[in-house]
């Protein structure tokens, strides 16, 4: 009996010891840092363009400005991201696409009492649209794929090819592959306004939609999908955008009409409201930071083609472009 009791006691003692040790390590770290500056938390999201841009920021903040930087992970433009920025669990996120998080922006950024601060745009312009693989229009002799929709250029041409894009889910209608119903992309309204006899099918998540796209390319099957640019998919697959009537201020979400394409997204930088006070130099630097679509794509391509890590690809760009980033350092 006593032996058994000893085991329980010993186990709990060990537990306490581990906890104490851990607490010791944890407490000793911030104590040193408060003398200089706390850790700056940037947000990593689940897409490559964002990851490399954040890595460039992080390396410059560490190497050129002597900041203590760490990253935390949050799924793109999600509730956790905004709640984290409000509470100060995250300090800064690069690359928020306004039209993918309209409701959250309204509640957290544009409300009367801003809980999250917007500090300008990154310089990246997001373009959203509907795409088909180029072999659908031009064929691919190397793979023995015949062009099944040779005259497809605009949404008005879609009706004559609806059987080409039909699947067992949609019957005799064509299928428009959509990502998730959680995004405000209004495919049903657009299809109705264009008078196109297609049916949107939601993949449920970005991963699922891209897997479906990947499988279509492997098989050489026709597919019409929602997608945006910049996105790594354009580097891997040869996609052609279907023309839509241009977006004007009469169009949704500003106006009522759905007979339009999508507005372009000015990708924004968001921050915790206490950021400027806590990290004034970093704030200045991130405010100056600008990157174009072409620059971001170049880093992403280097990452995927040459099998580099995110950090290596970011470092390579920094090494080659000193004249660009020198200007950002305050």
């Amino acid at each position: 009996m006593t032996k058994r009791k000893n085991n329980w006691i010993r186990l709990s003692l060990m537990g306490v010891l581990v906890m104490a040790l851990a607490a010791g390590i944890a407490c000793s770290q911030p104590a040193e840092e408060t003398e200089t500056r706390g850790t700056l938390y940037l947000v990593d999201q689940d897409w490559n363009g964002q990851l490399v841009t954040t890595a460039v920021m992080r390396i410059l903040l560490e190497q050129e400005m002597d900041h203590n930087v760490a990253t935390k992970f949050a799924p793109a433009d999600s509730a956790p991201l905004f709640i984290g920025l409000e509470e100060g669990d995250f300090h800064f996120v690069c690359c928020n696409w306004p039209s993918y998080s309209a409701a959250l922006l309204e509640e957290y950024v544009d409300a009367d009492e801003a809980k999250v601060q917007r500090i300008g745009t990154v310089g990246i312009t997001g373009e959203t649209g509907w795409y088909v693989p180029s072999y659908v229009i031009n064929g691919d002799p190397d793979r023995g794929i015949a062009p099944v929709a040779p005259d497809l250029k605009t949404v008005a041409d879609l009706n004559q090819y609806k059987s080409v894009f039909a699947t067992s889910d949609t019957g005799d209608k064509g299928r428009l592959l959509e990502f998730t119903a959680a995004w405000d992309t209004s495919p049903g309204e657009r299809l109705a306004a264009f008078g196109v006899d297609f049916q949107p099918v939601f993949a449920g998540s970005e991963g699922a939609a891209l897997a479906e796209l990947d499988a279509a390319f492997e098989r050489g099957d026709p597919i019409l999908t929602y997608l945006w640019e910049p996105h790594w998919a354009h580097a891997k697959y040869d996609l052609v955008q279907i023309e839509m009537p241009e977006w004007t201020s009469d169009c949704y979400p500003e106006g009522e009409s759905y007979n339009c394409g999508f507005p372009t997204d000015s990708v924004a930088k968001l921050a915790w409201p206490g950021f400027q006070e806590e990290f004034p130099e970093a704030y200045q630097f991130l405010n100056n930071f600008q990157m174009t679509n072409a620059q971001q794509n170049e880093i992403v391509l280097n990452l995927t083609e040459n099998d580099l890590t995110v950090r290596q690809a970011a470092q390579a760009w920094i090494d080659a472009n000193e004249d660009i980033w020198k200007a950002w350092i305050p």
Partner: protein, 662 residues
């Protein structure tokens, strides 16, 4: 006499006439459903009246807003403290040189389960390290470890209370049922606001989901302590508290340890969900691979999760099995008193050999590691990857197996399963749907469950998710029927052939531990997206318990009964149909019960691959911060789970809690 009986009665026995009747009713319903689907029946007939939909979501939203403001003073500091602790543990484990952890894992494995377990554990740790998932695995291990500490620290006392108070137990039981089935996405957002985006949040989600087994088995273990043992303790003058500490807890120890073992396994399975609230680790890796359609990397991180789960499972299982004789008892007995100096040294060496060797190894590794960095931190270029060949295989399958997979999807699942059932449910007027459900629940499980069914359907109607609920219910039934048919068939085969069973067992183990997200990419590449894919993935995931319980049930049939049947001239087939299956039925039903619960737990995941239904409802509302809507959809799932659980358990008084059968 025997000749005079009808064929069905000869096959199934006199008492099964009722069963045949039921089968006939089911077939008739199916034929009706199938012809409806073929006729493309309109769906508006069965709808719940729109004016009866009440805005019950809004007060919920407002309550949460108030609750968050009112309790911030308490939760924010709590969250900070836990975060610090978690950061410390992570920092400590990452600071340890990786070879030390590999060797330590192997040594502990050796100690607990012998040479082969030791070798396996060491090899598994090495694989994770050289596959490039070391840091992720360590982060995941820290979160799982801290969560399990909390779960045990809270769960054991609650379990003890439940064991001493029947009233408390009757309150706790439905709460635990709810915690296991309510999708985490429902309380993810409220919890986010309480705890912030932090490790604490991940720990909270993990503890909520994984605490039920430890509470249940502590309760069960203490209740099972023989009365005689307690009375003896009392007659020797022990107080109630002494009896608890010295008699009841020690005797319940192996049961409690089994509970902890299950809690650990469930905690590991939460890594994917916690990745969504910023908890880094293997879950994040799976998530990233999904987003980039990298089936190979997804598989690699999945393997790492499986290996971690297997190591933790074997460790805790070995500790549970060892029960009363602790493995830590020293090999040489005796006490310190009355020994010479050398004797003391020898005693210390024998008793503390393992810790001493560990400390020595650590010091050596720290010194060598300072000179030779790869021993401290494994460099990236030493790792290998399986991703490319896996991706190639998946790509090949997507092209060359598509003709067969699309046939399976469209013919088997859509035309014969989902489509007729779904059409029938949408066509049935809502009062008929409620009456049929209540009647079925009453016949199989009694009036309480019938009320539960009515309440659940009523909630779905009032909450405005009637159609979505019908969709989910038809998906659950399709997946359930498929799983039970295929599972029982495979189980019967496996029970006849040891070789087949031996080949099947590791496959089942992997299927149960591998997070479903890992095989989502291959499944989508083969089957496409939509509700059917959700159903197929769910069926695969939920197969293991029904196969296992079928094998177990058939194997448990006593030898004499079989011999008696054979001596009366039964053929093998007759023995199987008339003796083995009826006797194994209760065990098989337990497997079916588990399977149904697993199917429901998967509903939410199906929403992420285009399954629609309540899963998508819950997920979207969590993104839009609409807690009330999410809660209604989530509670509908909970009601559905409870009703189906009770129905498949039958009219037993003491219901077996779900998820408890190994």
């Amino acid at each position: 006499m025997i000749r005079a009986q009808a064929l069905p009665a000869r096959l199934f026995g006199e008492r099964s006439y009722r069963g045949i009747l039921w089968v006939a009713v089911a077939v008739a319903a199916y034929v009706l459903a199938f012809s409806l689907a073929a006729a493309n029946a309109g769906t508006e007939y069965g709808d719940w009246p729109g004016r009866w939909e009440l805005p019950i979501q809004e007060p919920v939203d407002r309550f949460f807003e108030w609750f968050e403001d009112a309790t911030a003073w308490f939760f924010n500091p709590l969250s900070d403290v836990i975060d610090r602790g978690l950061d410390g543990i992570e920092a400590f484990l990452l600071w340890l040189p990786w070879p030390f952890i590999v060797v330590a894992t192997a040594a502990v494995g050796c100690r607990l389960g012998g040479k082969w377990l030791g070798i396996f554990c060491g090899a598994a740790a090495l694989f994770i390290a050289f596959n490039g998932y070391w840091d992720s695995a360590i982060l995941t291990l820290s979160v799982v470890g801290v969560s399990v500490l909390f779960a045990v620290g809270i769960g054991v006392p609650v379990g003890i209370f439940a064991a001493f108070s029947n009233r408390f137990e009757s309150i706790v039981r439905p709460v635990l049922d709810t915690m296991q089935v309510l999708p985490a996405f429902v309380y993810l957002i409220p919890a986010l606001v309480l705890f912030g985006v932090s490790g604490t949040q991940g720990i909270f989600l993990t503890v909520v989901y994984s605490i039920p087994p430890v509470i249940r088995l502590t309760n069960l273990g203490i209740r099972q302590v023989p009365l005689a043992a307690i009375e003896t303790a009392h007659s020797h003058g022990s107080t109630a508290f002494q009896t608890l500490l010295q008699v009841q807890l020690p005797l319940a120890k192996s049961s409690i340890m089994m509970g902890i073992n299950q809690t650990i396994m469930m905690a590991v399975s939460m890594v994917i969900v916690t990745a969504l609230v910023g908890v880094e680790g293997l879950g994040t890796d799976v998530w990233l691979s999904l987003r980039e359609v990298d089936a190979g990397e997804g598989l690699e991180s999945g393997i790492a999760i499986v290996l971690l789960a297997v190591i933790l499972d074997r460790f805790s299982y070995a500790m549970a099995r060892s029960g009363h004789s602790s493995p830590a008892t020293p090999p040489t007995g005796g006490t310190l008193s009355g020994k010479s100096g050398a004797g003391v040294l020898k005693f210390l060496a024998s008793r503390y050999a393992l810790p001493l060797a560990g400390a020595a190894l650590l010091v050596v590794l720290l010194i060598v590691g300072a000179l030779f960095p790869p021993l401290r931190d494994l460099p990236d270029d030493l790792t290998f990857t399986l991703a490319d060949p896996v991706n190639e295989v998946v790509g090949w399958m997507a092209v060359h197996l598509h003709f067969i997979t699309s046939w399976v999807r469209d013919m088997l699942f859509r035309e014969l399963g989902y489509s007729p059932i779904h059409t029938l449910f949408l066509w049935l007027p809502w009062p008929a749907m409620m009456a049929v459900s209540a009647a079925l629940a009453y016949v199989t499980a009694g009036w309480r469950v019938a009320l539960l069914a009515l309440a659940g359907l009523g909630l779905a109607g009032i909450g405005g998710v009637w159609d979505v609920t019908m969709d989910t219910l038809s998906q659950v039934l399709t997946a359930g029927i498929f799983t039970v048919v295929v599972g029982v068939a495979l189980g019967l085969l496996a029970s006849q052939s040891r070789h087949f069973e031996a080949a099947l067992r590791p496959v089942l183990d992997i299927m149960q531990t591998m997070p479903i997200f890992v095989y989502l990419i291959p499944v989508i590449m083969l089957w496409g997206i939509g509700p059917l894919v959700g159903i197929i993935a769910t069926s695969v995931y939920a197969l293991p318990p029904v196969i296992r319980m079928t094998v177990l049930g058939i194997r448990e049939v006593p030898e004499q009964v079989i011999e008696t049947a054979q001596s009366h001239g039964s053929t093998a087939l007759q023995t199987m149909l008339q003796v083995k299956i009826p006797l194994a039925l209760p065990t098989i039903m337990m497997g079916i019960n588990q399977t149904i619960i697993m199917v429901l737990a998967m509903v939410i995941i199906a929403g992420l691959v285009g399954g629609g239904g309540l899963g998508q409802e819950v997920f979207i509302n969590s993104i839009w911060l609409r807690m009330g809507h999410g809660l209604v959809a989530g509670m509908t799932i909970v009601f559905m789970a409870m009703v189906l659980d009770r129905m498949t358990q039958g009219k037993r008084e003491a219901s077996i809690p779900f998820g408890l059968i190994r």
